[in-house]
C-alpha cells in the first residue's frame, strides 16, 4: 500500500484544511461499491446520496436493516464499503457484514464508534475508520466557554440581571489556573492549545503514554498514564473528559476519582455520558464536593425529565450539540468522499483507522 510516510494517518480539520491533501498515490486499482447504513432522509449525507462521487466509486443502496439489502442486484455487485451513520446500526451492521463477506472497509460518520461497538465488529477482518478530528476545534471552543462560564460566574450575572440588581463581585481568571485533560486525543489537544493561549497550565492523561514526547507537544505541561488519574483530578481547577467510551473508560470518573477533586473544581464532559458515574457526580454537585459541571453528553440522551441534573444550579447542560454546527456532519461525509474514498480506490492507506483492540 503506497502512502506518504510523512503525512499523519489522522485527519485534523485545522491542519488539513490549511494543507489540502495532494497525496492520492498511484493509479486506481479497484472500485468502491458502497452501501450506506443510514437514514435516507438524513440531509447531512447529501454529498454521498446525491454525489458526485469520486472516480470509481458508486453508491449501491441506502438502508437501515438487513432486509433493505436483499435485492439480488446488490448481492451480485458485491459491495465492499459500508458507510454507517444510523444510530441503531450496531446489530444490522454485523448482519450485513455476515451477508456480504466482500466488504473490506467500514467507515463511521461520527468520531465515536461506541454506537456500533461489539465484540463481533472488533473481531472482524474489515478496516474500520471514523471521523476523528472533525469536531475538535468546535469542542475546544465549548471547553473554554465552560471554564469561563464558571470563572466569571455567569449564573450570578443571570440572577442579578433578572433581579435588576447591580452588584460588583470578584471574577476568577483562567490565566494561571490548571486544566486537566482526561483523554488527550485530538479533541484534548485542541483544548490544550486554546488553554495554553489563555495562560493555563495543562495536564494530560492518555491510555498509552509510550509515544508521547513532551518536546513534541508545547501545549501539555505534564502527561499521565491511566494510573495518574487521581493525581490529575486533585491538581486541576478544570477537568475535561474527552475520552472515547470503551470498556476501559466506562465509569472511569468514579465516586472515588471525584472525591479527589478540589472543592472549586469544574468537570466538563464532551466524551460520553457513561464515562462518569452520573449518580456520584450529581451527589458531588449537591454536596459541594465540586464547584460545578458542564455536560454536553449524558448517560441517557435525551436526558430524562426526572434527572436531578436539570435542577442543579451549578450545572451547564447542553443537548449533545456543542459540536453541531450547520455543516459539521456534512463536512464529515465530505471527508469520507473526498479523502478516504479516493485513497481506498487507489489502495492507499486510509485515514483515521480505528484501533480495534482498544475500541477507538
Amino acid at each position: 500500500m503506497a502512502s506518504n510516510s510523512n503525512e499523519s494517518i489522522y485527519w485534523n480539520r485545522e491542519n488539513n484544511s490549511a494543507h489540502p491533501s495532494s497525496s492520492f498515490n498511484g493509479p486506481i486499482i479497484k472500485e468502491a461499491r458502497i452501501i450506506a447504513l443510514s437514514d435516507p432522509n438524513d440531509s447531512h449525507n447529501a454529498p454521498l446520496y446525491h454525489g458526485p462521487l469520486p472516480e470509481s466509486a458508486r453508491l449501491l443502496k441506502i438502508g437501515s436493516h438487513l432486509d433493505d439489502f436483499n435485492e439480488s442486484s446488490i448481492i451480485e455487485q458485491q459491495p465492499n464499503v459500508i458507510f454507517v451513520s444510523h444510530p441503531s446500526a450496531r446489530d444490522p451492521l454485523i448482519q450485513v457484514l455476515n451477508k456480504f463477506p466482500s466488504v473490506e472497509w467500514v467507515h463511521t460518520r461520527s468520531a465515536g464508534v461506541d454506537f456500533i461497538a461489539s465484540d463481533a465488529i472488533f473481531a472482524s477482518h474489515v478496516q474500520l475508520t471514523n471521523a476523528k478530528g472533525m469536531f475538535s476545534s468546535t469542542l475546544a471552543e465549548y471547553c473554554m466557554m465552560a471554564c469561563s462560564y464558571f470563572a466569571k460566574d455567569l449564573p450570578r450575572l443571570m440572577r442579578q440581571k433578572e433581579a435588576i440588581h447591580w452588584e460588583q463581585y470578584p471574577v476568577r481568571e483562567l490565566r494561571g489556573s490548571t486544566l486537566g485533560i482526561v483523554g488527550y486525543g485530538d479533541i484534548g489537544r485542541a483544548c490544550a492549545k486554546l488553554a495554553k493561549a489563555y495562560g493555563m497550565k495543562v495536564l494530560g492523561l492518555k491510555r498509552d503514554i509510550s509515544s508521547f514526547r513532551k518536546e513534541d507537544d508545547p501545549h501539555c505541561d505534564a502527561m499521565y498514564g491511566m494510573d495518574g488519574l487521581h493525581e490529575l483530578m486533585s491538581l486541576s481547577d478544570y477537568i475535561l473528559i474527552s475520552t472515547p467510551l470503551t470498556n476501559q473508560t466506562r465509569g472511569l470518573i468514579s465516586r472515588e476519582a471525584i472525591s479527589k477533586c478540589k472543592s472549586s473544581a469544574v468537570i466538563i464532559n464532551v466524551g460520553r455520558g457513561p464515562i462518569i458515574d452520573e449518580d456520584a457526580l450529581i451527589e458531588a454537585l449537591q454536596k459541594g464536593v465540586i464547584h460545578g459541571a458542564a455536560l454536553d453528553v449524558m448517560t441517557v440522551e435525551p436526558l430524562p425529565k426526572d434527572s436531578l441534573l436539570w435542577q442543579l444550579d451549578n450545572v451547564l447542560l447542553s443537548p449533545h450539540n456543542m459540536d453541531m454546527t450547520l455543516t459539521f456532519m456534512k463536512e464529515s461525509t465530505d471527508f469520507f468522499i473526498r479523502e478516504n474514498l479516493p485513497r481506498f480506490v487507489r489502495g492507499n492507506q486510509l485515514l483515521n483507522p480505528v484501533n480495534k483492540a482498544a475500541g477507538y
Binding site: S148, Y149, W166, R175, A197
Partner: protein
C-alpha cells in the same frame, strides 16, 4: 535626567552591581546592558517599528521586579528619593501595598500622607518637598482635587494613576499640569488578559446560544439545535491598545480573523495577531462594523472617542453582529445601541460598562433578552486592584528612584 548623564552615572553603578552580583551572570548581563543604555535595551516589539523605547507594561509579557531587585541589591544606585502623597480614600484597602504601615516600600521612598482633599495635607508638608502623587479612583471628585493638590505642592514631578482609565481625572486643568513637564503614568496592561477572557466568553455566549441553553434547562426541554463556531469569523476591535491586543491574541488562536481600529495604524502593521488595521474616522469605523461578526469596543473615553460608536456606525453593522463594550460607556451612543438591538440590526450585546454606573434600574437594557450585563467587574479579580498598587510600588517607584524611565506614560491631552 538626560540620557548621557544617566549613562555616566550608570557606569559606576553597573560596576558596583557587577561586583555585587558576581556569579549571577545572566542577571548581571541584563542589568549592565540596561544601565549602559537604559532606553535602547528595553525589549522592542516587532509590531511597533516606531518605538525606539518600549515603555508599556504588560502583566503577562513584561519581566517582573527587575528594578526592585536592583534597588534592593544596590542601595547606592539611588538617584533620588521618592516622597509620596496619596490621593485616595483612607479606607481603600486596595492601596495597602502602599498605605499599610507594615508594607515594605522600596529603599529611598516614603509615604508622607493619605487624603482626599487639600485640607487633608497640612501646609507644613510642603517643606518636605513631596515629589510623587499616587491617585486612586476612590478619591471623590478627583478631577477637582488633583489640580488643587498640584497647586499646593508644586514640587510634585510625577503623578501615578492606579487605574488604566484616566477619564475620572479629566479636566481643563490636567493638560496644563502635564504641559509643565510633569510625568503621568497609569495601570495600562494590568487588566488586559482578564478582559480578553471576558470577550471570548461573550462571543461564545452568543455563538453557542447560552440563553437558549438556560431556557431549555429551566423548561427541562432537550432540543438539539445548531450552534456557531467562532473559527473563521471576524472580530473587529475598536481601540487597539493593550486590551485590544490581548483580545486579538486569543481571537486569533480561535482561528478568527482580526481587524482593528486605532489612532496610529502604522504601529500595528506588522502585528502577527492583527490581520488588518485601520486608522480612526467615521468611514473606517463603518467599514469595520460592516465586516465584523463580533465587535469589541476597548477604547478609552476621551474627547475624541465620546459618542464615537453612534447610529451611523450601527447602521453599517454586519447582519447578525454581536457588540461587546468593555472600554467606557460614553464611547458608544447607548440609545442608538438599544435601538439597534430592538430592531434586530444587532443580534446581541455584551456590556461591562455603561454611560451611567450603576446602570439605573429603569434602564431598558435590563429587560432585553439579547443583552449580557455585567456590573463593570469583568476585570475585577480578587487581587487586581492590589496588583495595580503593587505595580506602582514594585515597578515604577523603583524606576523613579533609580532614575530609570517610568513605564506606562499617559498623554493627558489625548486622554489616555
Amino acid at each position: 535626567m538626560t540620557a548621557t548623564t544617566a549613562v555616566a552615572m550608570s557606569t559606576s553603578t553597573a560596576r558596583a552591581l557587577q561586583r555585587l552580583l558576581g556569579r549571577d551572570t545572566s542577571l548581571q548581563l541584563s542589568l549592565t546592558r540596561r544601565f549602559y543604555s537604559p532606553t535602547s535595551s528595553l525589549p522592542k516589539k516587532a509590531w511597533d517599528p516606531h518605538a525606539s523605547e518600549y515603555k508599556y507594561w504588560n502583566r503577562e509579557e513584561s519581566k517582573h521586579g527587575e528594578a526592585s531587585y536592583v534597588l534592593a541589591m544596590s542601595p547606592e544606585s539611588v538617584q533620588k528619593e521618592a516622597r509620596i502623597l496619596c490621593l485616595a480614600a483612607e479606607d481603600d484597602d486596595a492601596n495597602s501595598p502602599l498605605t499599610n504601615p507594615s508594607s515594605k516600600l522600596p529603599f529611598g521612598s516614603r509615604l508622607l500622607k493619605i487624603g482626599t482633599q487639600p485640607t487633608d495635607f497640612p501646609d507644613s508638608l510642603a517643606s518636605e518637598r513631596p515629589n510623587v502623587l499616587f491617585v486612586s479612583p476612590s478619591c471623590p471628585h478627583a478631577r477637582l482635587q488633583l489640580p488643587l493638590i498640584m497647586h499646593k505642592f508644586p514640587t510634585i514631578e510625577w503623578i501615578h494613576v492606579r487605574s488604566a482609565g484616566i477619564d475620572f481625572l479629566e479636566s481643563d486643568e490636567l493638560p496644563k499640569i502635564t504641559n509643565k513637564g510633569i510625568i503621568m503614568t497609569n495601570a495600562k496592561g494590568q487588566f488586559s488578559s482578564s478582559l480578553a477572557e471576558y470577550v471570548m466568553l461573550a462571543c461564545s455566549y452568543f455563538a453557542k446560544n447560552i440563553p437558549r441553553l438556560l431556557q431549555q434547562k429551566k423548561a427541562k426541554v432537550w432540543n438539539d439545535f445548531d450552534i456557531e463556531e467562532l473559527r473563521g469569523k471576524t472580530m473587529g476591535i475598536v481601540g487597539y491598545g493593550d486590551i485590544g491586543r490581548a483580545t486579538a491574541k486569543l481571537a486569533s488562536n480561535y482561528g478568527m480573523k482580526v481587524v482593528a481600529l486605532r489612532r496610529n495604524p502604522s504601529k500595528s502593521e506588522l502585528d502577527p495577531v492583527c490581520d488588518e488595521v485601520f486608522g480612526t474616522g467615521k468611514q473606517n469605523l463603518q467599514k469595520l462594523m460592516s465586516i465584523s461578526d463580533y465587535v469589541v469596543c476597548s477604547a478609552p473615553s476621551t474627547v475624541e472617542t465620546r459618542g464615537m460608536v453612534n447610529a451611523d456606525a450601527f447602521k453599517a453593522s454586519k447582519p447578525n453582529q454581536v457588540f461587546i463594550n468593555l472600554g467606557r460607556g460614553p464611547v458608544i451612543d447607548e440609545d442608538a445601541l438599544v435601538a439597534s438591538l430592538k430592531s434586530g440590526a444587532l443580534k446581541g450585546a455584551a456590556l461591562d460598562v455603561f454611560a451611567t454606573e450603576p446602570l439605573p434600574t429603569d434602564h431598558e437594557l435590563w429587560d432585553m433578552d439579547n443583552v449580557l450585563i455585567s456590573p463593570h467587574n469583568m476585570d475585577k479579580t480578587a487581587t487586581f486592584m492590589h496588583e495595580a498598587t503593587e505595580f506602582f510600588v514594585n515597578e515604577n517607584l523603583p524606576r523613579f528612584i533609580l532614575g530609570d524611565t517610568l513605564l506606562n506614560p499617559v498623554d493627558a491631552t489625548l486622554g489616555y
